[in-house]
């Protein structure tokens, strides 16, 4: 098995974030009762004609620029002809001959090694509807709410050799596209989907073997498993002297195996031809420049800048910049409070923990940098101690509460009044003669106990530094 390597290319479909479908004014909103987001255009009514959503073109150009593609200045749509009930016109409006973006690449990092993955093209197309299969009858039900939702398909060159590289490439694309705001790229919800083209060959050779295309991969785990299984399947065919058949296969993640989708009714000849209902698209340099001007700073640059400008650890910078939203919160908070490392700590520890607990995405964070910055200042100036701060942060995370108001309302401010502290500490000493004795006999632990008792007596609001100092003095 070690003699073989897998050669992998990806076709990544990404649902673009638009209000309306690619060729009609129906909403793209997820969910909704079946067929409530449909019209004559996206149900393929006779005589209905497509009209292109400009935002789709702009998103596609933006993704192309961010992945180092050439923008095809004269692009147009083609029809891909095939019959299927989720495809109401029985052709899909897509791009074959003049796709919008060509010859790009992205750099990935897999197993600590940098690698360039080339992008063959990016094209725009319409999504299909949804089929729901009846468990009891030999029937399927067609819901066309997704029919006509805009997609881009990013087609890579066969430059990947392992599942790790594939996942690194997908994560890279996802981050870029999320930064652009062109899609939320959620694999589970299907707004990002990858078809894997895979062939195997003897390691060290250059020729390409016969490839298969694997569909229905709904998670990174499924992709890894499917790559492993397909590699093994192809190697065993070759080892047994057989030939791999070029075909499309459907991955079943429950059974952990794939099935051929070939049938005699499937001729695999899509008879593409230029879509006569849609005029061509001319993309001027001016238009490209305008879109370029709106491109955000992407993760890699941002990460480097955070390391050098804010002096936060590389690991923190890497995780914070995974999400443009989180990075935005970091930077704004850091500017407001002037304590980037503390901001980073709040994000890396408490924020990530709460996200995980509540199974939320970084993009779902609602709190404002202003309130986090206030919290950090309150802690820094000793107005609240770290225990209280954690409690207040959960409030901020949950309700974006103003910490000043919250602390006031709940009387959480730290007690820095020395005479009050002395009084309480003296009381604690008087009530715990055994611990005082222990401390004096060199048991450091006893000190901790006495501090704890003091904090308890002060309802957690005592300034811990002062408590320590006063205790030492009195003992």
């Amino acid at each position: 098995m070690k003699d073989y390597e897998s050669v992998i290319g990806l076709e990544v479909h990404v649902e673009l974030s638009t209000q309306t479908k690619i060729f009609c004014g129906c909403t793209t909103e997820f969910g909704g009762e079946p067929n409530t987001h449909t019209c004559p255009v996206c149900t393929g009514m006779p005589g209905a004609l497509p009209v292109l959503n400009k935002q789709v073109v702009e998103h596609a150009i933006a993704v192309g620029l961010a992945t180092n593609c050439e923008i095809n200045r004269n692009c147009r749509f083609d029809r891909k002809n095939y019959f299927y009930p989720d495809n109401p016109q029985d052709y899909q409006i897509s791009q074959l001959y003049e796709p919008i973006c060509l010859n790009g690449f992205v750099d990935i990092n897999a197993d600590g090694e940098k690698k360039k993955i080339r992008i063959h093209e990016i094209h725009m197309e319409e999504d299909a509807g949804k089929l729901i299969h009846d468990e009891n009858a030999a029937l399927s039900y067609v819901d066309l709410n997704r029919s006509g939702v805009p997609l881009i398909e990013i087609v890579s060159e066969p430059d990947m050799r392992s599942a790790q590289e594939v996942i690194a490439y997908l994560e890279k694309l996802r981050t870029i596209i999320q930064y652009l705001g062109a899609s939320d790229c959620k694999l589970q919800e299907g707004s990002m989907r990858a078809d894997v083209n895979l062939s195997v060959r003897k390691a060290g050779t250059d020729s390409l073997g016969t490839r298969t295309e694997m569909k229905n991969l709904n998670s990174f785990k499924a992709i890894s498993r499917a790559i492993a299984a397909e590699t093994a399947r192809q190697i065993s065919i070759i080892e047994e002297g057989g030939n791999v058949i070029q075909e499309t296969r459907r991955w079943d993640d429950n059974k952990e195996e794939s099935f051929s989708m070939r049938s005699k009714e499937d001729a695999q000849d899509y008879r593409y031809f230029p879509e006569p209902d849609l005029p061509g698209i001319f993309i001027s340099q001016k238009w490209i420049d305008e879109i370029k001007a709106f491109q955000p700073e992407f993760k890699d640059e941002k990460k480097e800048r955070y390391i050098s400008e804010y002096c936060i650890p590389e690991e923190d910078a890497d995780i914070i910049t995974d999400s443009k939203h989180l990075a935005g919160i970091f930077e704004r908070t850091a500017v407001l409070c002037g304590e980037p490392k503390k901001v980073s700590n709040w994000l890396m520890v408490d924020t990530l923990r709460l996200l995980k607990e509540k199974s939320m995405d970084a993009s779902d964070i609602k709190f404002s940098p202003e309130n986090l910055a206030k919290l950090i200042k309150l802690t820094g100036s000793g107005i609240i101690n770290s225990t209280v701060a954690k409690e207040v942060f959960e409030e901020i995370f949950e309700h974006d509460t103003d910490p000043d108001v919250y602390i006031k309302e709940h009387g959480l401010a730290q007690v820095n009044d020395e005479s009050a502290l002395r009084e309480t500490i003296q009381k604690v000493i008087d009530e715990n003669p055994q611990s005082v004795e222990d401390y004096r006999n060199g048991k450091e632990k006893a000190m901790g106990f006495l501090v704890g008792q003091t904090m308890k007596a002060m309802a957690g609001k005592a300034n811990p530094g002062m408590v320590n100092n006063i205790l030492k003095e009195l003992l």
């Binding site: 006779p46 005589g47 109401p88 000849d269 031809f273 209902d277």
Partner: protein, 516 residues
């Protein structure tokens, strides 16, 4: 009924010595514009017009079979009353307010069955109206029915309809032409004052020539295709079929214009077509392609068209013969492009969302195959398969690309012709309407009948068909005038000037008598 029976023919109101001898028997004997004026002036009511229209259809429909769907009489009268109210209230004042119209059955009408003359759509009721239909309705035109056609507009005889064969009002043994045969026959038989047709390769002009009426295919992109059930998307346009050139100009003016629902519809100012209706054609340059008079063209047609040349020369036009070239390549290029687009456009008729579905099937693909095989007629199936073939792997370049390149050369030939001429003149068809049942036996010959019309579709040009005489068997002959893209005005102008030199030729069916 307060309609005044006229004994003086007012076909062309400004022309008192109009040569027609017949009495005006029905309001459907008027042109659309004349009838519109009478309604506007209060001479007649919209209900009068509606009743005459219903009567006229009732009288001749048994013979002509122009309609697939006739709107229920009560509904027509109800709508007529509504339109009359709007006219009385001053809400409707356009030239077509209250005028009855028939719509070709490949143009969607919300709530009115639209079949494309096919079994596969035999019960299809569109959920929306074509833009042209809404426009006509906004003008106050009264839709009385949907006209017969070749199935999915594929044909030149209106014999491939699932709903029966339409007859030529000049001779019931002859075809009315096609594919807009029902629309042309209905106008020719004076069942309605005007109709809409569609023209993918000659489907307005050829039936107009065969039925002795007037029809124009506008420049590609000037009339919205939204709601036109597509056959050859890059070739076709909706256009008017009427009794004279003025009507065509008025109707075209009403239906043209940019539509946000059709991406191929062109943004242009309204051209003001009515201003082109003058008889003064002094200095208009007319080119007559020698290649439009080849040996395949009937001698009587040649003579009639050349007679028109003489007439126009006498009126001051500068007429010149020239070689257009590439004429014989237009039909093959057309059939490749039209079939390829048709194959794709007709995929959606699959028994899932609307239309006919076969009764028995075991699985999805069998359902598809049986539905489509039972739902489509032979000619449609042939063209779908041809279309699949010319786009299929290994043949795309040799056929489809070759056709697109040929189209480029044909367009270039017209471009250079229009550097020299304002209008190109020729016959519409190589022969007059053939007898029913003779054409379908030899498809290639039938396709060759489109030789003079398909070029205008390939090159996107406006082209009109106007009557220019009868052959010795009394069948009408059509004269074709083509202009450069968006130059409808010169086309209409020359057609109007020519028409003014002739008497209107009324079909026997329209004259109350029975044709043959």
């Amino acid at each position: 009924m307060h309609r005044k029976k006229k004994t003086v023919n007012t076909w062309f109101p400004e022309q008192s010595d109009f040569a027609g001898k017949d009495d005006i028997l029905s309001l459907m004997d008027f042109t659309a514009v004349e009838l519109g004026e009478k309604i506007k002036s209060g001479d007649v009511s919209v209900v009068d017009a509606a009743k005459d229209c219903l009567d006229a259809i009732e009288k001749s429909e048994k013979d002509i079979c122009a309609f697939i769907t006739r709107i229920d009489e009560k509904e027509v009268i109800r709508q007529a009353e509504e339109i009359q109210k709007k006219i009385d209230a001053g809400e409707l004042s356009g030239p077509l307010a209250g005028v009855p119209v028939a719509i070709k059955d490949n143009i969607c009408t919300e709530g009115i069955r639209t079949t494309c003359a096919s079994r596969i759509l035999s019960d299809f009721i569109p959920p929306y109206s074509a833009t042209v239909v809404s426009k006509l309705q906004n003008e106050g035109a009264l839709i009385v029915g949907k006209t017969n056609m070749d199935e999915f507009a594929m044909g030149s005889t209106t014999e491939t309809s699932y709903f029966g064969v339409t007859k030529n009002p000049w001779n019931l043994n002859r075809v009315p032409g096609g594919s807009s045969g029902g629309s042309a026959a209905a106008v020719s038989a004076h069942q309605v004052t005007f109709a809409l047709g569609s023209d993918t390769g000659g489907s307005i002009r050829q039936p107009c020539a065969y039925c002795g009426v007037t029809g124009i295919k506008p420049t590609y992109g000037s009339v919205s295709r939204n709601g036109l059930i597509a056959y050859g998307s890059s070739l076709e346009q909706i256009g008017p079929i009427a009794k004279d050139v003025r009507d065509c100009a008025v109707i075209l003016e009403a239906i043209m214009g940019h539509d946000t629902k059709d991406s191929t519809s062109v943004k242009r100012k309204k051209p003001g077509l009515l201003s082109s209706l003058t008889e003064d054609i002094t200095g208009v340059r007319i080119g007559v392609p020698r290649d439009y008079f080849n040996s395949g063209t009937d001698i009587q047609i040649k003579d009639a068209v050349l007679e028109a040349v003489k007439v126009l020369t006498k009126k001051g036009a500068v007429v010149e013969e020239f070689d257009l070239s590439l004429v014989e390549y237009a039909v093959p290029a057309y059939y490749i492009i039209a079939s390829a687009e048709a194959g794709s456009n007709l995929s959606r008729f699959d028994g899932v969302k609307y239309g006919f579905r076969t009764k028995e099937y075991n699985d999805l693909h069998q359902m598809y195959k049986r539905t489509r095989s039972e739902g489509f007629g032979d000619e449609v199936k042939r063209r779908i398969m041809l279309g699949s073939f010319v786009l299929s792997a290994g043949y795309y370049d040799a056929y489809y690309m070759k056709a697109l390149k040929s189209k480029a050369l044909i367009k270039k030939a017209f471009d250079s012709a229009f550097e020299k001429y304002d209008v190109i003149l020729g016959p519409v068809t190589p022969s007059v309407a053939p007898e029913t049942g003779t054409s379908l036996k030899d498809p290639i010959k039938m396709y060759l009948g489109d030789i003079y019309t398909v070029s205008a579709n390939l090159a996107g040009l406006p082209a009109i068909s106007v009557p220019c005489g009868l052959d010795e068997e009394g069948m009408p002959i059509g004269l074709q005038l083509m202009g450069d893209c968006f130059n409808e005005k010169d086309v209409l102008k020359v057609a109007y000037a020519f028409e003014k030199t002739r008497d209107y030729q009324k079909s026997p069916a329209a004259s109350g008598g029975k044709a043959v």
